[in-house]
């Protein structure tokens, strides 16, 4: 009587064929993400590794060395699929359809020995279940990496300091102003004041969803620091509901120049620097000559 490993080894091509059929017949297979050839190559590699491990008689511990190749391949597949945007179902179906193929082949080969078949199926079931758990773990890890990368990207979007006019800087703040963010904002602003020799900075908080006392405290600190540098600060973008909230909270912003919109803040900045914006009359405008 052949051992399980021998039976499987002898029928390797059939298992692979059935497995490929199973995978390809799955309506959810994304042939746009991976070619059939690639899938075949990947599946063969995986099956080879698995059979080699089974030949050693290990059905229990997938973390043993003989499974290294299988688990490595599997991890690789899951991570790649997670990044490529496969769904968990598609990724999980990969291993689970292998189980189905292996069992189908075993049933064919062991028609006359059901007790042996039962035992083999139990063992393989256990083994492939462990492998599918590994697949999911890795898949989720792959997704988490994507999330972490996005988090990094978001925090890297630092607040830009814009030079709107000679001597006038504008700083649009978008999102929540926490301590770490304030530090970045303040550093950028103060550095830019030094670089450009500006004497007016406009902090626009139109994009800050909620102004509580912590945010206000951070704003006040930024304004004080700007003043120490000899520049004046205007806070713009105070919406009606924010104004009411600030009053109820009892935050005193009376010695800070505030404006409802960036446009009116710029207007104020112009008048503080004795600049004037005027409409020119068409008739008086110099004619363009070619």
């Amino acid at each position: 009587m052949n051992t399980t490993a021998q039976v499987l080894e002898k029928n390797k091509e059939r298992i692979l064929e059935k497995w490929m059929q199973n995978q390809l017949s799955d309506a959810s297979l994304r042939d746009d993400l991976m070619t059939t050839d690639e899938l075949q190559r990947q599946s063969r590699e995986m099956l080879d590794g698995l059979l080699r491990a089974v030949a050693k008689g290990n059905y229990d511990n997938i973390y043993d060395t003989e499974f290294e190749q299988v688990t490595d391949t599997l991890r690789d597949i899951s991570i790649t699929r997670a990044r490529q945007g496969f769904s968990p179902r598609e990724t999980g179906a990969y291993v689970l359809s292998l189980k189905q193929s292996v069992i189908e082949v075993l049933v064919e080969q062991r028609k006359d020995d059901t007790s042996m078949l039962y035992q083999e199926i139990m063992q393989l079931n256990n083994l492939l279940d462990n492998l599918s758990i590994l697949t999911f773990e890795t898949f989720i890890k792959g997704r988490e990496e994507v999330i972490l990368r996005q988090t990094d990207e978001i925090s890297e979007i630092s607040t830009p300091v814009i030079r709107v006019w000679d001597g006038i800087l504008a700083l649009p703040i978008i999102g929540t102003l926490d301590s770490a963010r304030t530090q970045v904002v303040m550093e950028n602003l103060l550095q830019e004041i030094v670089n450009t020799g500006s004497n007016i900075a406009i902090l626009d908080i139109s994009g800050v969803p909620a102004v509580d006392s912590l945010v206000a405290q951070h704003l006040i600190k930024t304004v004080s620091a700007t003043r120490l540098m000899g520049a004046e600060c205007i806070i713009s973008g105070i919406r009606a509901e924010i104004a009411q909230t600030i009053v109820h909270l009892g935050i005193d912003l009376s010695n800070i120049k505030t404006k409802a919109s960036l446009a009116s803040a710029l207007h104020l900045a112009f008048s503080m620097t004795n600049l004037e914006v005027r409409r020119t009359e068409r008739s008086k405008a110099p004619k363009l000559t070619r």
Partner: protein, 137 residues
């Protein structure tokens, strides 16, 4: 008083503040609260949740939509197991802070909402309950 919707959120990190505020906004929008009242409630919630994080290392918040004699509102209950507040009367005073902040969190939050209740046992924790009605009255 009837509770119509109930939800609980655990607050353990600073990153939990923004999703929590959005949840409060969602509750406000659901009962048709005006923008000003929503902002008031969110700001008060933000103050209280920051206190919870800063002084008690977090806690949990129960969000509820409540109804009382044809009045609808949002009730938020902030529960923590922090050190508690030694002198509540002092803590409710403008400009008093043990943590080098503006000292406007608690008294400000009280002014922003319709009903405010603070219970604190030193060593056991603090529970703050606020209610803001749909029309802000």
């Amino acid at each position: 008083m009837i509770v119509m919707t109930k939800d609980t959120m655990e607050i353990v990190r600073e990153q939990d503040v923004v999703p929590f505020r959005n949840r409060v906004r969602e509750f406000g929008t659901r009962i048709g609260m005006s923008l000003v009242n929503q902002t008031k409630l969110i700001t008060a919630a933000s103050e209280l949740v920051r206190n919870m994080l800063k002084y008690a290392n977090g806690g949990k918040v129960i969000l509820e939509i409540i109804s009382n004699n044809a009045k609808t509102g949002v009730r938020l209950t902030f529960k923590d197991q922090g050190p508690g507040i030694a002198d509540v009367a002092m803590a409710m005073r403008d400009g008093f802070s043990t943590g080098r902040s503006l000292g406007l969190g608690l008294p400000g939050a009280k002014r922003l909402v319709n009903e405010f209740d603070l219970k604190s046992n030193p060593g056991e924790g603090t529970t703050v309950t606020v209610i803001h009605w749909k029309n802000g009255r």
